[in-house]
């Protein structure tokens, strides 16, 4: 039974991956590129130590983003606002860290807490609007994304927080090395793996524990499966909405930190602002399961990083974006097909058992 469940849950992504690779091959043939060259060069480059390090670093960011999204998903809450929550969290983290001269551990703890509190607070606005005014969190979080970008722009351009770090590049002042979390050079001597990679593993385990081994996690999943049933059994749905959104926002607040503390040391106006949307796709891909999300994040990052090599070979890098899109669509569809087949086979086996019993009687 358990083995079979694992089998079916692996089957769907395997089918999805295979179909999307085949479809990509067709596209490559249509645009006149050599399929074997493209796939083999993506693979060869993507498995080189430097590319693997870059991939794990990017996957760390994607993992946290998808985790933040999936906390909401578990309760049927669509937190589209991870973008806004993480940019504000990262900016606050950057401002605080750049003004601290403390031992690394203390500085990092404060930076993390600040980013989480700011992310949670920003998500909390949407939670409050939903509970108190009935505003759909989809609408409010999207709007809050725009507002967050505007606030950041104001802070960096108009206040003394922003400085011109080099010509035409504005950002917060550099975080001292003692406040950074650069990481360790495990695979490639020149490209360390972010320290946050390891922190995010801990966060992933904590997520799993919270959802599957605590009363709160049970209430959350119950509310997600059937809000009415949960309410009847004594779950306070408004409280659940607020706590879930705050948690989701707190994790979202961390999304920008691997890059901030491992790479730039400054929140500049070039800081990417759309990792939240990537997180949605990866949460779907990983079925809100931390291990699935980790695999999805790595796959996504692999395609992103190896697209840099593609373009060197004269193949448009958008090929990897197409692959990402195809994988999400096909995997979601194949999960559904596998699930239906599972239900069907369960029904037939139950029916068979019943007729057998009846025949005995």
């Amino acid at each position: 039974m358990n083995l079979r469940r694992i089998g079916t849950s692996l089957l769907a992504p395997a089918i999805g991956l295979f179909i999307s690779l085949a479809a990509t091959a067709v596209i490559l043939i249509v645009i006149g590129a050599s399929v074997s060259t493209v796939f083999s060069s993506m693979w060869n480059y993507g498995t080189s130590p430097r590319a693997m390090s870059l991939m794990l670093n990017l996957a760390t960011t994607y993992f946290l983003s998808a985790l933040a999204v999936s906390i909401g998903f578990k309760m049927n809450l669509f937190n589209i606002g991870v973008n806004g929550q993480y940019v504000l969290g990262a900016l606050a983290g950057a401002v605080v860290a750049s003004n601290l001269t403390l031992p690394t551990i203390a500085s990092l703890t404060i930076t993390l807490l600040v980013a989480m509190v700011v992310g949670a607070a920003w998500a909390g606005i949407a939670a409050w609007l939903k509970v108190a005014r009935g505003v759909s969190e989809v609408i409010s979080t999207i709007m809050l994304n725009f507002i967050a970008i505007g606030i950041i722009s104001y802070i960096i351009v108009r206040t003394s927080v922003g400085t011109e770090t080099s010509l035409n590049v504005r950002g917060t002042k550099l975080i001292p090395e003692s406040g950074m979390l650069r990481g360790v050079a495990l695979l490639d001597p020149g490209t360390p793996i972010y320290g946050f990679f390891f922190i995010s593993i801990v966060i992933g385990i904590a997520y799993w524990f919270l959802l599957n081994r605590t009363r709160f996690g049970f209430d959350l999943r119950a509310t997600g499966k059937s809000a009415t049933a949960a309410r009847t059994s004594g779950v306070q749905s408004n409280r659940m909405i607020i706590v879930t959104m705050l948690l989701s926002g707190a994790v979202a607040g961390l999304v920008g930190l691997p890059y901030l503390l491992g790479e730039t040391g400054t929140y500049s106006l070039q800081f990417p602002t759309d990792w939240g949307f990537t997180g949605i796709a990866i949460a779907l891909l990983g079925r809100n399961n931390p291990l699935g999300i980790a695999l999805g994040a790595i796959l996504w990052a692999f395609l992103d990083i190896s697209s840099g090599q593609l373009i060197l070979e004269g193949v448009p890098r958008e090929i990897s974006t197409i692959m990402q899109g195809l994988i999400v669509i096909v995997v979601v569809i194949s999960y559904e097909i596998v699930r239906r087949n599972q239900v069907k086979s369960e029904q037939t086996s139950v029916a068979k058992a019943l007729t057998k019993q009846e025949a005995k009687v």
Binding site: L17, I29, A33, R50, E164, S166, R170, Q270, L295
Partner: protein, 353 residues
């Protein structure tokens, strides 16, 4: 984790086998032998985000690259950083180019400055260049432009061409780099008509990466300016500028006398904008093409162009285009202003007062 990677590899191999039968016909052309370049100079060029095709800034860089390819026989390779690029992925792109023997490596756009600084120290024997920013390293050429001077000239033309006394400016992202265009434009316009009304709008706040690619937003903004009486509009907004052309063209088709002013490339001659050419009176030229060509030529000649290179009016690094004959009525005024700037009589500011 590893399991997933393994799985991916098995599937990749499987679909390779699947696809092999279909691709046999197409492999021949990619195997065509490359011509032995005389100088054997390989130029790597990295655009930011979506890269080429904006008919403006990035295409100007490409024009310089193509000229070098034609005139100097260099080999070229172009890459772009993609929509959600980070310093890490930009650094990797530049590393791949430098690693592949490309020299010079030219980064188009200030977003590359951090990444370029890191890669330049790792490859001291490669010459790098960056457009619109300054990277202080012995093997880097920083190519900066006095966009405010060129914009001053378009401001003179706009104010001379305007009958209503109201003109417009569409900016891309609201950052100092673009505000210099606005500042020069306003100053130039006011030098002709001190009472001129100037409407300015930006397509995105600083940090809003969509700002360069929202033509529909630029169209709405321009519609509003024209409704308020503006009859000459200047856009310094990358790909968003298309919307300004669409709006001005629609107004002109409706019988109004309105002009558009292009930016960076001579947009009157850009094939993709051919349907709008009649309403493009002139373009502010930011000669990224010249700068790029100079960088490549210097490497071919064996004397790399490093350090800060300020392309201003006196070096013809900025200017305005005269390909549309409609501009001829205003060239006298613009050329007079250009002389004053060159002589130092007029110093154009870079911030809006």
């Amino acid at each position: 984790m590893l399991k997933g990677v393994k799985l991916a590899s098995i599937l990749a191999v499987a679909s390779l086998a699947l696809a092999a039968c279909g691709s046999s016909g197409t492999t021949a052309e990619s195997a065509a032998p490359t011509e032995p370049a005389a100088a054997a100079v390989k130029v790597g060029m990295a655009y930011d985000q979506d890269g080429k095709g904006d008919g403006s800034f990035n295409d100007a860089a490409f024009a310089g690259l193509s000229k070098a390819q034609a005139d100097l026989g260099v080999e070229i390779k172009e890459v772009n950083s993609g929509a959600s690029a980070t310093d890490a992925t930009r650094e990797e792109l530049l590393t791949l180019l430098a690693d592949g023997g490309y020299n010079p490596v030219i980064a188009v756009g200030f977003a590359y400055s951090t990444a370029l600084a890191a890669v330049a120290t790792k490859y001291p024997d490669t010459t790098f260049a960056i457009v619109d920013s300054v990277v202080d390293a012995p093997n880097v050429g920083s190519l900066i432009f006095a966009a405010e001077q060129g914009s001053y000239l378009t401001g003179v033309i706009a104010a001379s061409a305007s009958k209503s006394g109201t003109i417009g400016f569409i900016g891309g992202m609201e950052i100092d780099l673009i505000k210099a265009f606005e500042a020069g434009y306003i100053e130039g316009a006011q030098s002709v008509n001190p009472d001129i009304k100037i409407e300015s709008k930006y397509m995105g706040a600083a940090g809003d990466n969509t700002a360069w690619n929202v033509p529909e937003k630029a169209k709405t903004a321009t519609d509003g300016m024209i409704a308020n009486g503006a009859d000459v509009i200047y856009a310094a907004a990358g790909g968003s500028g298309l919307g300004m052309f669409q709006s001005v063209k629609a107004a002109a088709d409706g019988g109004a006398t309105v002009w558009a002013i292009g930016v960076d490339s001579d947009q009157y001659t850009v094939p993709a904008l051919a349907e709008y050419k009649d309403i493009i009176v002139t373009s502010m030229l930011k000669r990224v093409d010249v700068a790029v060509y100079d960088v490549i030529k210097a490497v071919v000649d064996g004397a790399p162009l490093v350090g800060i290179n300020n392309f201003d009016l006196s070096k013809d690094g900025v200017g305005y285009s005269t390909s549309n004959s409609a501009v001829s009525a205003f060239t006298a005024a613009a050329d007079a202003a250009a002389e004053k700037i060159k002589s130092g009589e007029v110093v154009v500011g870079t911030t809006v007062k």
